[in-house]
């Protein structure tokens, strides 16, 4: 379908930006609600889902090399079930893309109070649509270009925050046992589960280092999570849960020699880069799912129609920020693991029990 090829490294960078871009904003606050001062421990538990998902997906692609997800399903659970599953995944990715676009727009709206949400969303989806049409290769390259900028900026900001850090905020560790930090992991695991998306990228890989880079990406995400959570904890202490965007609020404290101050516009700028990748990857996967589910020969004609659907989902499905956060807390922690981890696990299980596998046929 998409003839482009990306390297495993590009895939890793795409996934890193896809996951971290939105996670860095809201997750510390939600985690803090349950884990309190142990919020930096929660990502460790949550990352288990990440490792688990990567291993499942890689095992699937090892059994069925160069096969798309729905082809794998057809081999294992039959055509009819695959069609149903395809519909489920289509709606799932549509809702996910819409919600992500909305999250982005709500965050931007903090700074652009008068700008209509639809303008913010449509301008971004327009850019994403052009990138999706350009194909996986271009998405990979853009991600590779933005990745160092993103990482560098995040760490520069943490570096600038060093004078404000209060390391003693970390105590007491595990005040109420492990349970709070485990509860706090329920939300971040949604983000780790998004590594499932690599199932759609693996057939486009030009090398065979998917496993290595998949695991490495989870590790890198885990480290970033822990560092940002600790930074937020060191600055905002137990108040973290009362901020909607704790990391952003923390950066407002940056003040270096009375000259470098109020750098949050730079944060949005950098963050837009990351979210662009996130929205584009989800958009691309939605398009790919649809095309593979309906067995289309080309995915380009459906890019614009699906784009309109995404806008509609993000406007009608998510009326405001409160609903958005509510969905984040109540619906997604269950929906995402089912779609992203347990269904693939089920398919892998069926394939293993029925001893199905498909090696590349030489034509």
């Amino acid at each position: 379908m998409d003839k482009g090829r990306i390297s495993s490294m590009q895939m890793g960078m795409m996934m890193y930006l896809t996951i971290i871009a939105t996670a860095i904003l809201t997750v510390p606050s939600i985690t803090a609600k349950y884990a309190q001062k142990d919020l930096w421990l929660s990502p460790i538990w949550a990352s288990i889902i990440g490792f688990f998902t990567v291993i499942i997906v890689i095992q699937l692609s090892k059994r069925f090399p160069r096969q798309t997800f729905f082809q794998i399903c057809e081999h294992t659970i039959g055509t009819l079930a695959t069609k149903l599953l395809g519909f489920l995944y289509f709606t799932f990715f549509l809702i996910a893309s819409g919600q992500i676009t909305r999250t982005y727009a709500e965050f931007i709206k903090v700074f652009f109070i008068k700008t209509p949400v639809s303008v913010i969303m449509i301008s971004m989806l327009l850019l994403s649509a052009f990138t999706v049409i350009a194909g996986i290769e271009v998405i990979g390259r853009v991600a590779q270009f933005f990745f160092p900028i993103f990482i560098f900026s995040v760490f520069i900001i943490i570096f600038l925050l060093l004078p404000q850090l209060e390391p003693s905020n970390i105590f007491p560790i595990l005040e109420n046992g492990l349970l709070p930090s485990l509860k706090g992991a329920i939300i971040p695991q949604v983000w780790f589960g998004e590594l499932f998306l690599i199932v759609f990228l693996l057939p486009s890989l030009s090398d065979s280092k998917g496993m290595k880079w998949g695991i490495f990406t989870v590790l890198l995400i885990l480290v970033t999570f822990i560092i940002t959570n600790i930074t937020v904890l060191f600055i905002l202490n137990q108040n973290t849960e009362f901020y909607i965007y704790p990391f952003l609020s923390a950066t407002q404290l940056v003040n270096l020699g009375d000259f470098i101050e109020s750098i949050e516009p730079i944060i949005i700028a950098i963050w837009i880069l990351g979210t662009f990748i996130k929205i584009t990857v989800f958009y691309y996967v939605t398009i790919l799912t649809t095309a593979q589910w309906l067995k289309l020969s080309d995915y380009k004609p459906i890019v614009w129609p699906i784009g309109i659907l995404i806008v509609e989902v993000s406007v009608w499905g998510v009326p405001n920020l409160m609903v958005n956060n509510h969905i984040d807390i109540t619906v997604f922690p269950l929906l995402f693991p089912i779609m992203q981890t347990f269904i693939p696990l089920f398919i892998l299980g069926v394939a293993m029990i029925r001893k199905k596998s498909k090696t590349l046929e030489v034509h």
Binding site: F111, F112, F145
Partner: protein
């Protein structure tokens, strides 16, 4: 519609060129005849109303009728007098055999070609080689005596430098190829020639180093060049536009240079150079974004300085695209970003200005572009006037009159200088054009708009390929070993390998262990 008109025009041109040769023998295989009068009649009909074509009748040995055909100003007349006419007229040849023998063995010309078809003869005359036609034989002798007035080799004007060779290409293609050959003496430097243009018949040379350049690349260049069917080629810019991958992009996808050393360094990295007769600008394919940001001097200076200069260039590249739009965005939407003291001083200077920042920025940027363009076009004698008008009227008077603010003038001035830091003019102008849409975006959506602009540019850059090579390589897709010549300019003893995508057949460019060290001397 436009295309149809173009097609019409094109077929018309082809017809035109045909009608010239159609007079008597229409096909390309038409040959000369044995009778001289018939041949001369034919040439006279072709060159009717061409006052610059000279038909000089002579008698060889006083018996055999012959004609010398040449174009006035394209042939070396003194040489022809001395070496051709003199021996011919004084010869004792009485029949055709003796005459042919004498012509081939006793005429002192370096290159004597025997031509039998009419188109060959016409080409010979057109390129300046006089044609000798004799009665009784169906062969024309092309005498290699072409000579015309040409510009001497001078310093390249568009690419100046402090260090490095000072000679540039000229308009004459065989001088250019000789300049390349003088640098790369190995016979593996190949020069394949072809002629493009129905009417101009411009000579184009594809140059590459065998064993370094990728075969597929050479073939691709050939294919793309042979596809061109056009009436004339006046500059390598024509060819550039006709063979590039993304015709609508504002960015150049082919490097254009007038320095032999730049061409040779690219040939040594496995690229292909295309030389075009009639222009000093040689084009090189494939090229990448970062190679367009490199100057030849980077490789002649000490490497730490070159690396620092490169970083300075990257910084100012960003400034040249973003500074005016950031200024507009911050002044319109994000006052809180600026430290209070700075904001107050900017606000004070903007107090009297009646325009919003967006209008002010657009006004000044357009004026600057106009000044730049006028500066190129104006004759040298009035050039000084422009700088006075630019500096005094637009700079000082506009600020004093309260039409623009002083910070805006500073912003425009820095942006202008920044765009000239890009060593390749075509690249700089591409970015200068992109500045305007981003200023609009900044005026409409603030920093969000600027970011949208940046993302759009980077997505576009990621989409482009130049002859199969991704434009943003080696950064995206990442090629770790090539960053040594992109992020920094590594010292020469570290630049051991050729770029991955162009020089993969022959990877190593030097032997290992070239790093100088006192202990290594005098082995």
């Amino acid at each position: 519609m436009v295309r149809r008109v173009k097609n019409l025009l094109k077929t018309k041109h082809i017809n035109l060129s045909h009608s010239a040769t159609q007079k008597k023998p229409s096909d390309k295989q038409a040959t000369l005849t044995y009778t001289i009068n018939e041949n001369i009649e034919y040439f006279r009909s072709i060159y009717a109303n061409c006052s610059d074509v000279v038909f000089r009748p002579i008698l060889i040995g006083g018996v055999i009728q012959a004609y010398l055909l040449y174009i006035d100003g394209l042939a070396n007349v003194e040489e022809a007098d001395e070496q051709i006419l003199n021996p011919l007229m004084n010869s004792s040849a009485k029949n055709t055999n003796e005459m042919m023998n004498m012509l081939e063995n006793k005429i002192p010309v370096t290159n004597l070609r025997k031509l039998s078809t009419l188109p060959e003869c016409i080409d010979s005359i057109s390129t300046g080689n006089p044609l000798l036609l004799c009665d009784g034989i169906n062969i024309g002798y092309s005498l290699c005596l072409a000579k015309w007035e040409k510009r001497a080799i001078g310093e390249p004007t568009a690419e100046v430098g402090i260090k490095g060779p000072r000679e540039g290409f000229t308009e004459t293609i065989n001088v250019s190829t000789s300049q390349l050959r003088r640098i790369i003496k190995s016979p593996s430097l190949k020069m394949e020639e072809l002629f493009i243009g129905q009417l101009t018949k411009t000579k184009v040379v594809i140059s590459y180093i065998e064993g370094i350049a990728n075969h597929n690349l050479i073939e691709e260049v050939h294919n793309r060049l042979e596809r061109i069917k056009i009436d004339g080629i006046l500059d390598s810019g024509y060819i550039e536009e006709l063979i590039e991958d993304h015709p609508y992009s504002p960015f150049p996808q082919i490097l254009s240079t007038e320095r032999p050393d730049v061409v040779c360094s690219n040939l040594l990295e496995g690229r292909v150079a295309i030389l075009v007769d009639g222009t000093p600008f040689v084009i090189i394919a494939p090229t990448t974004f970062f190679s367009l940001l490199q100057s030849h001097e980077d490789y002649y200076q000490r490497f730490p300085i070159s690396s620092a200069v490169r970083w300075l260039r990257y910084l100012f590249l960003i400034i040249s695209v973003l500074l005016p739009s950031l200024y507009v965005a911050i002044l319109t939407f994000h006052h809180e970003m600026v430290p209070t003291a700075l904001l107050l001083s900017v606000a004070a200077s903007r107090e009297a200005v009646p325009f919003p920042a967006l209008v002010e920025a657009l006004m000044m940027e357009v004026t600057f572009e106009a000044l730049r363009e006028a500066g190129i076009r104006l004759p040298k004698q009035v050039g000084a006037a422009v700088s006075i008008v630019g500096a005094l009227v637009i700079g000082q008077a506009a600020v004093q009159a309260g039409l623009v603010s002083a910070p805006m003038v500073i912003v425009v001035a820095i942006t202008g200088i920044a765009s000239f830091m890009i060593p390749r003019y075509a690249m700089g102008i591409g970015f200068r054009i992109l500045r305007f849409p981003i200023i609009f975006l900044a005026g409409a959506l603030g920093l969000l708009g600027v970011m949208m602009g940046i993302i759009a540019i980077i997505v576009h850059l990621s989409t482009i390929r130049s002859f199969g090579v991704p434009y943003l390589s080696p950064l995206a897709p990442l090629k770790g070993s090539e960053l040594k010549d992109t992020l920094i300019r590594a010292p020469w003893w570290k630049l051991k390998t050729r770029p991955h995508l162009t020089g993969e057949y022959n990877k190593n460019r030097q032997s290992p262990g070239l790093k100088p060290d006192p202990s290594k001397g005098g082995e």
